[in-house]
Symmetry: none
Subunit: 418 residues, 2 copies
């Protein structure tokens, strides 16, 4: 079954926003055993949207449209789909009520044009909106006597992803009726480059290539880690899992130390679980990362059971006065150790992690851009490490976050079981 | 003149690589006054590449193809373009010599298939390769008696960009014979919904639609703010600016209070500039955002001149003990005020901003998910505000960041000039 993708928005054609939605959708379709052979960007122009959609429906069994569902004059997806369906747009009271309630709940005035989002092509069914104000649409169309379907979802990535997983992919899987399932197992690693992992895993890769199923892919994912993904196709979840398992074990046998989690694990969630398991609380002292570590930690629901808080000691004298760092170079292992012990004392936590370094644009304390010093205060010892990290300011700061958390992860896992 | 873009590569459809090339090309075309109305991704399949290229050439005057020029069996752009031209592929000796010399110069063995890159459709002219081994191609085609052109450039971004600037854009400008440039002006706003802005700007939008140039678009960009973008087409930068200016003034006259910056400004950079202008330093106390505000502030190079640091007071007793918040409900305006004054005292800053709220998943202190209380301690006054924000945990936290910084921005701008 073939499902192509149409991204709507003049800003996409002008390069003011990069279309990441269709790539993400393509990845999901592939993971569900569905082909996506054409992906198109078109601007906010009714005639062109309608024409390209008609054209795409000749070759594809289904088309997913992202964007153009908003309330404004340049949101034209509803009109285009209705035209292709040969249907009229009908106001939907339930949708209108939900939109009105959303605004009321936020104590916000609702401009009347928001009710444009309650217009539904006659014959389409609705994907209820749980995040934004625009619902998604499932629109049956007949092309040369063949039943096809158009899905319309918002262009806001988190709204699009939620609707795709909740409604569009299940609907597509059911239509495709294919027995084959595709199951992936992602090992999340940190501490080795793609080429380094690739080289060490060469024997496994050769085996995989000779059998052809499962397949292996490396996905460098910034501060989400370096992903090693195994993907198997089989008649059932169980059969796919049985194909994956021996290769996962082989990979772990070779690079197990670098594997910090699987699938949806994040470095933050793994570290929080390890601390929770020991009943230990965490505090942070951040300089170079300026709050990014705390921001990641607190993105995890339930972090409050473990995380007490942190100090962003950006100015040097805040390090000296508030954290008791001795006067001297602040990008150094002694400074990192003092920051960790200082914030542990100040916030009364069991464990404290501290980061100081040089994100650039210029060097500091004679240390080059990319230098990261990490201090880790554990209940009965404090240790420090220095790393050299790549990249521009933003990238170096993100690498610092996962590098420091990975040090904490490894130290916690190395401790004798409590 | 219309030039559409075709990106070649199965990995683009599978989401293994995000197609940033067509966005960049679209930006360049717009800056040169050329329309790009359709941008397409297709996989490494000869039949489909040829079919979609034929299709695109019906509407477009020119098509730029990125990728598929490499030496391997799945690099099929040359074959597809030759088929559409109705031409045969001819080995080009000069190209073959350059490729051979490139390998020799790098002391590398040249696999014979590299000479596939010396095949040129009969009648096409060559864009000499200066970086990679594959030359670009300029391929004249006749469609329904109309002279059109297909440009083929490599998919490697730096090779593609170099050839586009050196050969493709000049060739297109000459063909188009028009000097037109396109200039955009983006007003970044916060505090009103897209639909609310749209409604209040209705009279301006009507005018713009009646004249047709400039055009206006809204771009909801999360915690980057709600963008209102004017785009004008004219013979020169100056003429375009002259077209934009009266409409920018009209928009500012209506929604000026919401406009926090233009073009590449961010809320963080604007707030830091306002503080720098008064010689004031900033400290932060964050609970609900858990360090995200500090993380955004410190992403701005030079933030250290203004930003002293912050406290992430996640656990309630950290608020009480470290910041002197009175015992009681911590999601409240009194708590936000005490947090701001406490961190201002603790870090010795001129100004302090504090955020406490409920990101969910569950309510807290009887306050619903989405509640944000902001405290702002200025040199001689402290004020507080409560907001109701939409969205899931992550979105609510991001909205909190820009909402709190926008409050600081408005208060600083409202102060008498120093």
């Amino acid at each position: 079954m073939r499902c192509d993708v149409l991204a709507i928005g003049t800003e996409l054609l002008l390069g003011q926003i990069i279309d990441t939605n269709s790539s993400w959708i393509g990845e999901q379709l592939a993971a569900n055993g569905l082909d996506s052979l054409l992906q198109v960007k078109v601007g906010d122009n009714l005639e062109r949207i309608e024409a390209v959609l008609r054209r795409m429906l000749i070759d594809a069994d289904a088309v997913i449209i992202c964007g153009g569902l908003g309330p404004t004059h340049d949101d034209l997806t509803r009109e285009a789909v209705a035209a292709v369906m040969g249907a009229t747009l009908v106001p939907n009271d339930e949708v209108a009520i939900v939109i009105t309630q959303l605004f009321a709940a936020r104590d916000r005035y609702m401009a009347p044009n928001n009710l444009r989002q309650a217009l539904v092509p006659d014959g389409a069914s609705i994907i209820a909106q749980t995040r934004g104000t625009a619902p998604g649409l499932i629109c049956p169309v007949v092309v040369d006597g063949v039943d096809k379907v158009v899905y319309a979802v918002p262009g806001v990535p988190h709204e699009m992803k939620e609707m795709l997983e909740r409604a569009v992919l299940p609907h597509l899987r059911e239509r495709s009726g294919q027995a084959a399932v595709i199951v992936s197992r992602t090992l999340r690693t940190w501490g080795e480059s793609e080429s380094g992992l690739n080289e060490r895993l060469d024997p496994v890769i050769d085996q995989l290539e000779s059998v052809g199923n499962p397949t292996l892919a490396f996905l460098a994912s910034g501060w989400e880690g370096m992903k090693v993904r195994l993907t198997a196709k089989a008649e059932s979840e169980e059969a796919a899992a049985a194909l994956l398992q021996p290769f996962e074990l082989q990979i772990r046998a070779i690079v197990g130390g670098q594997v910090f989690g699987v699938d949806d694990d994040t470095m933050e969630s793994v570290v929080l679980d390890l601390l929770r398991g020991r009943g230990w609380s965490l505090a942070l002292a951040e300089s170079v990362t300026g709050g990014l570590v705390a921001g990641r930690i607190t993105a995890v629901p339930g972090a409050s059971e473990v995380f007490r808080g942190g100090v962003v000691s950006y100015a040097s004298d805040v390090k000296f006065r508030l954290l008791g760092v001795p006067e001297g170079p602040v990008v150094s292992e002694p400074a990192a150790a003092a920051m960790a012990e200082g914030v542990r004392r100040l916030l009364g936590s069991d464990v404290a992690l501290a980061l100081t370094g040089v994100a650039g644009p210029t060097e500091q304390d004679g240390m080059p851009v990319g230098t990261l010093c990490v201090g880790l205060a554990l209940p009965d010892t404090t240790l420090t490490r220095t790393f050299r990290l790549p990249g521009q300011r933003d990238q170096m700061r993100q690498m610092s976050v996962i590098t420091a958390l990975d040090l904490l992860r490894r130290e916690l896992q190395a401790l004798p079981a409590s």
